[in-house]
């Protein structure tokens, strides 16, 4: 049939030449290629000692931030839990007592703050929802573990290290 697009190309299968039929020259060519590869640079990244370079806006594990005086920024407003599409975040609010002003920035704080890392999809919407700039996904990878309960990260794992005096 006549080709409408005019792009049809009839290919002819040529019979193999003697050199191609005995197959050995192409094996030699293949061997040369693999031999060259022995001396090429290795692509391996030695994972636990060495990390793959990550982009600037890469989203890792969450951390709850402190302000410049070392007080926790989170006020347990619950916007992050509301924004979370995977419903991974829960928290319980509490009122700041007298004498705790150096621990929490505002009168209300999160007594319990838990993220279920098996539910989390690392979308970063909690980060965007937070009005207090308290949560950021700037951590490392999520590491493997044996039990489901160990994937629910509480404040002990999430809150940043206190400022060094």
């Amino acid at each position: 049939m006549e080709s409408l697009s005019n792009r049809k190309k009839v290919l002819e299968q040529k019979p193999m030449s003697f050199g191609e039929k005995i197959y050995l020259p192409s094996i030699a060519k293949g061997l040369a290629i693999t031999f060259k590869h022995i001396f090429k640079k290795r692509e391996t990244i030695f994972y636990p000692e060495e990390l793959r370079p990550m982009s600037e806006n890469w989203r890792g594990l969450h951390s709850l931030k402190r302000d410049e005086n070392g007080k926790e920024r989170c006020t347990a407003c619950g916007l992050c839990a509301l924004a979370c599409p995977a419903e991974a975040i829960t928290m319980e609010a509490a009122e700041r007592k007298k004498g705790e002003e150096n621990l929490y920035r505002e009168e209300k704080y999160a007594a319990v703050y838990e993220i279920n890392m098996l539910r989390c999809i690392f979308c970063g919407l909690c980060e965007e929802a937070c009005p207090k700039e308290a949560i950021y996904l700037d951590g490392p990878f999520l590491e493997a573990d044996y039990l489901r309960k160990d994937f629910i990260f509480g404040k002990d794992k999430l809150v940043e290290e206190p400022l060094k005096p």
Binding site: I27, H37, K40, E43, T44
Partner: protein
């Protein structure tokens, strides 16, 4: 038989056996390293510096794994098969001459376990016994994949043994002997009577057929159809686990070592090396150097086996049979005819 003779042979046998096992163990590491390098990886590197303890770790793992014997299998044959595979693999090295005679005091020590005058026939017998291990393994497992793998192994080994034997007949016409030691001695030095003395230079086609057949006999890629992971699960050793599986894998590497040694001895001068007679060294030093050269050749061939494995893809089954029956056998017969004509013409001149 004198006592010193017995002691000498026992020492030689144990040394060769230990070397064989060591080389087979480290071939597994070398294979994984070479695979890694060719594919742009590094291979095992955690166990010791550069992964040198990896074979020990693998062997230890094999020992401590559970030995499963399927309930529908034939237990006696199931256990006998890996033993047979390991046995036939390791007795092949008995007739290989490892070096020239060493003279200590007035004792002449031959670096060969058995200097029999039918060395090549012995090697052939052992090689053809090798397929029994695989066949019995596949049959006794009572598993369709195992059976398929062992049927393939049997037909492949039978077809390629013919071409292998025919390629050797041409070699025997040139050397006029079946003794491995005499063949090695005939290839003395590198240059003799105006031509290279190594057999590769008068039997290049024969060597080509021989090396292709030895790839097939060792069940190595591109002829690893008895195993072919992606078609038959694991071929004949699908049902095997623990140390019995280890014995099969080990015997594959021992086979590779022995056939590399046979190839070096028959075609690449064995323990001979260029200018060995012009160096003016004592015969003992030449003998030690010869052993080192033989092992260098063997290591090159083992590397070549692995290099081919990570380069050439597996043949289809009909292509394999095509190559064996329609290409290699006619080629080796033609080689015999040409060799015969050449020998006759040379005698007439």
């Amino acid at each position: 038989m004198e006592l010193t003779f017995v002691i000498e042979k026992v020492v030689l046998v144990s040394v060769i056996f230990l070397i064989t096992l060591g080389i087979a163990a480290y071939s597994t590491l070398a294979e994984r390293k070479i695979a890694g390098y060719i594919q742009g990886r590094v291979g095992p590197h955690r166990a010791g510096p550069f992964g040198v303890f990896q074979p020990l770790a693998d062997g230890g793992k094999m020992f401590f794994k559970e030995e499963i014997i399927p309930s529908q299998s034939n237990p006696f044959l199931f256990i006998a098969a890996p033993c047979l595979a390991l046995l036939t693999a390791s007795i092949g090295s008995a007739v290989i001459p490892w070096g020239q005679d060493v003279t200590i005091g007035d004792r002449v020590i031959q670096l060969q376990v058995a200097n029999i005058n039918v060395g090549i026939l012995y090697i052939f017998g052992v090689v053809s016994l090798g397929v029994y291990g695989i066949m019995i393994a596949g049959w006794s497992s009572n598993n369709k994949y195992s059976l398929m793998g062992s049927v393939r192994a049997a037909s492949q080994n039978i077809s390629y043994e013919i071409a292998m034997g025919l390629s050797l007949i041409a070699l025997l016409m040139v050397t006029q002997t079946l003794s491995m030691r005499e063949i090695a001695e005939q290839q003395n030095g590198f240059w003799q009577n105006g031509w290279f003395s190594w057999n590769i230079f008068c039997q290049p086609i024969g060597f080509l057929v021989f090396i292709v057949c030895s790839f097939a006999e060792c069940n190595r890629t591109p002829f690893d159809l008895p195993e072919s992971e992606n078609e038959l699960v694991a071929g004949y050793h699908t049902e095997y686990s623990g140390f019995k599986l280890g014995a099969f894998l080990f015997s594959e590497y021992i086979n590779m070592f022995v056939s590399s040694a046979v190839m070096s001895t028959l075609y690449f001068g064995g323990y001979n090396f260029p200018f060995m007679n012009d160096l003016g060294l004592s015969s003992n030093i030449i003998a030690v150097l010869g052993v080192l050269f033989l092992f260098a050749k063997i290591f090159f061939f083992i590397f070549f086996f692995m290099w081919i494995r990570w380069t050439v893809p597996r043949f289809r089954y009909d292509q394999l049979m095509n190559l064996g029956w329609k290409v290699l056998i006619p080629l080796s017969i033609a080689n015999i005819v040409v060799t015969g004509i050449w020998i006759t013409v040379k005698d007439l001149l």
